[in-house]
Each structure stands twice: as C-alpha cells, then as structure tokens.
C-alpha cells in the first residue's frame, strides 16, 4: 500500500535533516515547499537540471535573426532607397533592433519555459486541500514523502525528525 504524507516543519534546517532521514530509511522524498528559496534543496531532492537557459538562447537568437532578416529584406529587396550610392545593406545599423528585440524574446521564451517546466499556471492543486498548506508561502517548511511499504514507519520518521503536523495526501 502506497501512502503520501505531507509533513510540516518550523524551519529549513529541520526540513533538510528530515529529508536526509527519509531518504536513508528507504522512503521516497517527493517534493519540498518553502517560503523562500533554500540553497541545495533541489539537488537533495534529485531534481533534473532545467533547460530554461537553452530555451532563452534559442528564442532570443531566432527572434534576433528574424528581425535582422526583416530589415535586410525590406531595405535591400522590397523597398531599396539609393541614398548617394551608400550600400543598401547597412548591417551595422541593422544590428540595433535585433539586439533589443532579441533580449526581450529571450526573456519571454524563458518565462514560457519556466511556466511549462513547473506546470504553471494551474488553477488548483491537491496540496491546497491540506490544512496549513497555505503557510508554505509564509512560515512553514513542508516535505512531501511517499512510502511503498510501511506508511506508519514513514510517519514515525517524519515525527521524530521534528514535524509539527503530518497529514496524509489523498489524491482524487
């Protein structure tokens, strides 16, 4: 029987210690929720590295290339203006607009990649039903752990590690 338990702690150090205990006793630590970013927590939970920066690079470069191509096409092919024999492809000046829009596009691509990788936006989450979960954005440090074999043992581990409340998460 699998059970998912939600344990609430009063500070980050206790949470991180509990996480180590859960892992060393053979249970699975699924996720942690904290009111501010804790260094090293993602590594402890074994989360994969994000590819947000790759998305930003591709989005930014692609948009910049498009902007440059648009300028080149309009100034050289579609609407050439011969001004005293100057070159139609004034590429030095055409770099300004791609730089500006490229950075904006990189940021936009980053935001989209961030939302996708965190599965946001979402209207509801099963965890929001847990009493006290609203304090995860204020002053509670919450660990979600699962046990394949022995939920009672996991509950004991979490309580011994200093959890002030342990609730079972029932997925619909």
């Amino acid at each position: 029987m699998t059970a998912t338990l939600v344990a609430q702690f009063l500070d980050a150090e206790t949470l991180q210690a509990a996480l180590q205990r859960v892992k060393s006793t053979g249970h699975a630590a699924l996720d942690a929720f904290t009111p501010y970013p804790i260094d090293g927590l993602a590594e402890q939970l074994g989360l994969d590295r994000s590819r947000i920066r790759v998305a930003m690079l591709i989005g930014g470069l692609a948009t910049a290339a498009f902007a440059f191509g648009l300028q080149w096409y309009s100034a050289v092919i579609d609407y050439p203006i011969d001004s005293g024999g100057r070159p139609l492809n004034s590429w030095q000046v055409f770099l300004l607009v791609p730089f500006e829009v490229g950075i904006f596009a990189a940021a936009l691509a980053g935001v989209i990649a961030f939302l996708r990788s965190c599965r946001l936006p979402r209207l509801h989450d099963a965890l929001f039903e847990i009493p006290g979960f609203e304090r995860a954005t204020q002053d509670r440090y919450i660990l979600v752990a699962a046990s394949e074999a022995d939920p009672n043992d996991l509950r004991t581990v979490l309580t011994d590690a200093g959890a002030v409340a342990v609730t079972e998460l029932r997925l619909p």
Partner: protein
Amino acid sequence: MSRVLVPQQPPAHRWISAERADDVAITQAIAGPLFTGFGKRWWLALLATLPFVFWLLVAIVWLFYRGIGIWGINSTIVWGVAIANYVWWIGIGNAGTLISAMLLLTRQRWRASINRFAEAMTLFAVAIAGLMPIIHLGRPIYAYWLAPYPNTMALWPQWRSALVWDFWAIVSYLLFSILFWYVSLIPDLATMRDRAPWRGAQLVYGAFALGWRGSAREWSRLQTLHSTMAALGVPLVCSVHSIVGLDFAASLMPGWQESIFPPYFVVGAMYSGFAMVVVLAAGIRWGLGLQAIITPRHFDAMARILLMASIVMFYSYATEWFMGWYGGEHADRAVVRFEFTGTYAPLYWALLTCNCLVPQLLWWPFARRSLPVLILVAIAINIGMWLERILIVWNTLSHDYMPSLWRSFHFTFWDCSFLIAPLGFFAFLFLLFMRLIPSVSMFDMRELAHEEAAA
C-alpha cells in the same frame, strides 16, 4: 498602525535593524498594511495627485487639438521639453532594472529591501517616457507607422532612423521590465493569496500567482530564470540608454556628435534613477513604517553610489569640454563657450552645482546618515539631471553652425505642464502600486533575515 518590526538604534543586524525578524513578522510587516488599509494619509496623498493626473490629460488633449505649436519650440529649436522629459524619464526608468539586476548579479544582499519598488519605478517611468516622443510627433495618430506591418502604401520603416531605434528600444525594454518585475513578484502574490481575508482578494491575487506553491522545483527554476534575465537586463538597459544617446550622437550638430554620448547617458540614467530611488525609499519607509527593513545602512550604500556617479558625471562633462576644445572645430568650441556664458548660462551653472558640487556633501558620513540631507541632495540631483537634458537640447539647437538661425527657447505654460504634470501622474501610479502590491520583496527579505540570523 502599530509596527510589527520594531527598529533599533544601532541596528541589530547588518541590513535589518530589528532584533528578531522571523518569517511571520516580515510577512506581517510588509503584507499586513495591504489588508488593513493605509488610513487617511494614503487617501490624502492620492487626492493630492489627482489634479496633476487631470492636468496631464487636459494638456495632452489640448496638444492633440492644437498641435505642438503650444510649446515654446520654433523652427530652430525643434526639440524642447518633450525630448528632455523623454531622456529624463527613461533615465529614471533605466535605473530600476539596472539597480536590481546589477545588485543581483554582484550578490549585494541589501537589494532585497529596494528592488521591488525600484522596478515598479522603472515600469511607470518608462511608460511615461514612451508617451513623450509620441506627443512630440506632431501627427501622433500616425505613431503606428513606426512598426513594420503589411500596408496598402507598400511602405517600410526607415531602419536607419534613430526614431525607429527608439521605438524598438522602448517597447522591448518596457515589456522586458514587466516580465522581470512580474517573475520576481509571483511568490509574493502567492503569499498575498494565502493571507487574503476576503474571497475577492484571494481570487485576484490567486489568479496572478498562477498557482505558485513554493516547491523546490519552482524555486530553483525561478532563480535560474531570474538570474539569467538579470544578466540579460544589464546589457539591455545600457543599450536602451545608449540608443537614446544616439538620437543626439548620430546627428551632425555641434555639441551632439560625440562618441561619449552613449556611455555618458547610461551613467546619467543610473545617477538620476538612484537619486529617485532614494526619494521613493524614504517615502515608502515612512509611509509603510518599514524602518526596520529599509535601514540607514541602505541609504548609506545608495549615497556612496550617488557620490561615485556624480564624479563620473563630472568627468563626462569635463571630457565634453575638453573634446570641444581639442577637436578644434570652431562651432564645437563656440557651443562650449555658449554653455558657460550664453542665454542659458545660469541654468548651466545650476546644473553643475546640482550634479557635481552638491553631491560632494556625501563624502561626510553624517550627510549619508541624515535622511533630510540625503533627500535634499537626491532632489537636487534630479533637478540637475533634468537641466542637463534640456540644456543638451537647447544649447546645441540655439547655437548651430549658422549664426542667422540662432534663437532662444521661450518657456510656455504648456511646457511647464508637461514638465510638472507627469510627476504627479507618476506619484499617482506609484501610490496605487504601494496600495495593491507588496512594495518590498517578502521572500527575499525572509532569505536575508535567515542569513542575518535575525529569524
């Protein structure tokens, strides 16, 4: 309103002056007033800004109806207050993102107290700056011609024009700033959602919080995104104000065609922006009772940056004078002489006093620690920076190559309107921001408090 965090003298910690500032106290101090209301002071302040908002609307409507002839511009001095305002406002607008991004990248932890409202300042200032070139167009209904779109005239924008660069720089920068600001706001919106006592507030904050839960994955992704955006933001800000500098430097006018303009504009932007942050920080600190979170040390750090920037500004002015002389061009030398002795000489001396002389007060620690002195210096800097921008426009245009075209600018009531009314409009937007959104980043403050062992 009783204070949640009681400030102490001397400060108990480096950047937090309360003895204990645990997660609850920080949340309560920052988010509490948003739910209990700000009382009469806030309403009075908002009421005081309303006439300015109305004044700005009237001025814009009158301008659109009559045309730009209502200003003191003429066929020689074709640019005036609108362009100076544009440069000044975008300078202030640049500072918020620049300060926030640079302090994030250099791991200056004290940024936690000021980055949120500095970025909000950016948004409002850039929005106001973006209005200025449009109202100066003369035919503002055609502003959309700046964008490339399929049209029956088969026309394209002129990509070699500084006005087109401006358009893309402002639009990109404004949208970027909104994203940068919003990304760091999401966790605090979730806190607001979870604390809101009424259903309506829960729904609104909840919708904007996008379902944030504060999971380890969300935090690590958010930090990756935010720091990468900061790294991109710094060159973007520098390029935006450089492009504003190119509006002048890409011309052939004496006193404008100088390669120092782009960097000199960037420093000027940071300078006036930091001065504005000092004024706003003092206002927010007093208005919201955040004396424990925005401490004298923050003002001290900002004062040092102002002092440094004032020295760089003075160096830039000196380079301008030197290059005017060293270049040997008669018109360039004449413009420099005109700056010191011509029609606008009193303003030029006022500019030098405000930007170069007055900030030297900040060498003394008592001036950096004394809030009234610091605020007066910051206001002087902002006045000086506005004078710098208007004089860049006036001096060169009044003293061009052709002596038969030399004229002066005559300030009209409507010039004055476009100078003063946007300040009130800015204050109006800022007051609304303070009322609706946590002015200090709560999660950054929690992190800082834990690092400072104040929690």
